[in-house]
């Protein structure tokens, strides 16, 4: 997938007066994500920062109080990025059993049509590799995973599906993941997992943390 900022400088843009978004240049590669984790560690120490939220090769910096001079702030972020060296995370490996296909996999046919692969190939390729959790976000405990085979890349739907069930395993662009709650979603659903990704009664509540590895295991393939 070619990204808008695949070459050149990082991009810094405003999210209103509540936050700023820093986007790393270059491809969706693990080393870029490791620098994002390092950048998050740096800006978390800044007093006006409420929260540093890693996304996929980007970082949202949410403020307690918006800075008066936002150009100066942009400069500070860019200079922090220069200092941010890739950070190795010592994550765990988490196995997630998946029922691929069946009535729940509403977009498997669309993914097959888009990729030119058959169902069996999609499932094999999807479950073959270990993925790295780049970031947790969107919904409680949802992990954005790096490592999707480029052959499975499939754009998000032009109109999100209103009710995608918790546990849905899906592909959005060059990303894949497991839904944690039933909610609107624009990703392409190819299977269903039965694990608790998030539980407020658990410490920590989220099954996945940034830096963990995820392995999808074929539990079953439904027609």
């Amino acid at each position: 997938m070619k990204s808008e900022h695949s070459n050149g400088a990082p991009k810094v843009s405003l999210l209103g007066t509540l936050a700023v978004l820093f986007e790393a240049p270059g491809a969706f590669e693990l080393v870029a994500q490791q620098r994002i984790w390092a950048l998050a560690d740096i800006v978390r120490e800044w007093p006006e920062v409420l929260e540093a939220v890693p996304g996929v090769t980007n970082l949202m910096v949410a403020w307690r109080e918006a800075p008066q001079d936002v150009e100066e702030y942009r400069g500070a972020l860019l200079s922090a990025w220069e200092r941010a060296l890739p950070k190795e995370m010592s994550g765990r490996t988490i196995e997630i059993p998946v029922v691929y296909g069946g009535a729940r996999a509403i977009d498997l046919a669309a993914v097959a049509a888009h990729t030119g692969l058959d169902r069996r190939e999609i499932i094999e390729i999807h479950s073959r590799v270990d993925y790295t959790v780049c970031a947790v976000g969107s919904a409680p405990g949802f992990g954005y995973l790096h490592g999707l085979d480029v052959r499975l890349a499939c754009p998000r739907k032009s109109v999100p599906t209103l009710r995608v069930p918790a546990g849905a395993v899906s592909i959005g662009g060059m990303q894949t993941g497991v839904s944690v709650v039933t909610s609107p979603n624009g990703w392409n659903v190819i299977g269903q997992a039965h694990v608790s990704m998030f539980d407020v009664g658990r410490e920590p509540p989220s099954l996945l943390s940034a830096g963990d590895r995820v392995r999808f295991v074929i539990e079953r393939i439904d027609a």
């Binding site: 997938m1 990204s3 808008e4 991009k11 843009s13 405003l14 999210l15 209103g16 007066t17 509540l18 936050a19 978004l21 986007e23 969706f28 409420l50 929260e51 540093a52 939220v53 890693p54 996304g55 996929v56 090769t57 980007n58 970082l59 949202m60 949410a62 918006a66 008066q68 936002v70 970031a135 947790v136 976000g137 969107s138 919904a139 409680p140 405990g141 949802f142 954005y144 754009p155 998000r156 032009s158 109109v159 999100p160 209103l162 959005g172 662009g173 060059m174 990303q175 944690v180 709650v181 039933t182 909610s183 609107p184 624009g186 998030f198 407020v200 920590p204 509540p205 989220s206």
Partner: protein, 330 residues
């Protein structure tokens, strides 16, 4: 303690939101009209961040199980206490057994009920707000329903506060000429703004956007002219804040609100400024919204104006609360 006598779905316990949990994907939740809840709390002697009830489906009815002070803020709903009218943006002392009823608002979408002491549900991940989608926080993580009994924090004596009202923000902070049909909110350009052709940018600012019925606390979906880019923009998922306006490939914008996902991947054209989020919180499905192009400087000034209004009203509330009884008599 208060007891819910009748409630339709969607009414929840909210405070000012769950801050600092987006890195594990937990939304802020919280009142859609934060200034209304904060001021309601001040009117009953609470801290602004105490928990109250956000009512967005009507009628809603509750019974007071103790003598206590309450306030009604937010949308302009007809309210009665044992059949006697209570004005919006007003506080009164209720007696044990009295029944408060809220009818459908003539204006606005959400009414806030604040109670002396605040609703004493447990804080989860730092907040008492209900996260309905994930089913935690608030009262049992769900919408309120008949027979729910909500505990209140016990606070000191009720004081001698008399009844009083405050100037609503819709009046104090009106934008332009009053126009009941169109909600105007200011917005800052966002990351992909420049990817939209100039004519499309103009369409975005000049159109009045219809809030569709596929709209809730998570976000509003608008309908209007199609906003398209020259080429498809595939984004990597990034953190989302309330007020962010995204344009999915279908070309109909969505504004993210209190219960929004903490991350998203659609191109973003603009962000409604923090100081105007409450205006969206009071907009209803069927209303029309216009976005006003604003600069960062203007956005900070708008926030300062909102803060100044809140500070002024808090001063007035303190004066009203400490007024000796004798001064009340005409």
């Amino acid at each position: 303690m208060i007891e819910v006598l009748s409630s339709l779905p969607l009414n929840t316990v909210q405070d000012l939101g769950r801050k600092g949990q987006r890195h594990i994907g937990v939304s802020t939740a919280g009142a859609m009209d934060a200034p209304a809840l904060a001021l309601g709390n001040c009117m009953v002697g609470n801290e602004p961040e105490a928990a109250g009830i956000e009512v967005q489906t009507f009628p809603f009815e509750l019974r007071f199980l103790a003598d206590l002070r309450f306030a009604i803020t937010g949308a302009n709903a007809e309210a009665t206490l044992d059949g006697r009218v209570v004005m919006p943006w007003w506080t009164r002392a209720a007696r044990e057994g009295q029944v408060l009823r809220l009818n459908y608002p003539a204006q606005g979408a959400r009414v806030y009920l604040a109670f002396q002491g605040g609703i004493a549900v447990p804080r989860i991940l730092g907040s008492r707000s209900t996260d309905v989608r994930s089913g935690f926080g608030g009262f049992e993580g769900r919408f309120l329903k008949r027979d729910d009994r909500l505990p209140l924090s016990s606070v000191g004596a009720q004081g001698r506060a008399r009844e009083f009202g405050v100037l609503p923000p819709a009046t104090a902070l009106a934008i332009g000429a009053p126009d009941q049909d169109i909600v105007r909110v200011r917005a800052l350009r966002a990351g992909e703004y420049d990817r939209f052709p100039v004519a499309v940018q103009r369409t975005f600012w000049q159109s009045s956007w219809h809030i569709t019925h596929q709209s809730d606390r998570a976000g509003y979906r608008f309908s209007g002219p199609k906003l398209s880019t020259d080429s498809h923009i595939e984004m990597r998922s990034y953190g989302v804040v309330p007020g962010l306006i995204q344009v999915p490939p279908g070309g109909q914008p969505i504004v993210q609100l209190s219960d929004a996902n903490t991350a998203g991947g659609y191109p973003k054209i603009a962000t409604v400024i923090e100081a105007d989020l409450w205006r969206l919180g009071q907009a209803r499905a069927g209303d029309k919204v216009m976005f006003i192009d604003c600069t960062y400087r203007e956005a900070l000034e708008a926030k300062a104006a909102l803060d100044a209004y809140l500070a002024r009203v808090r001063r007035e509330i303190r004066l009203a609360q400490y007024q000796p009884d004798e001064a009340v008599a005409p």
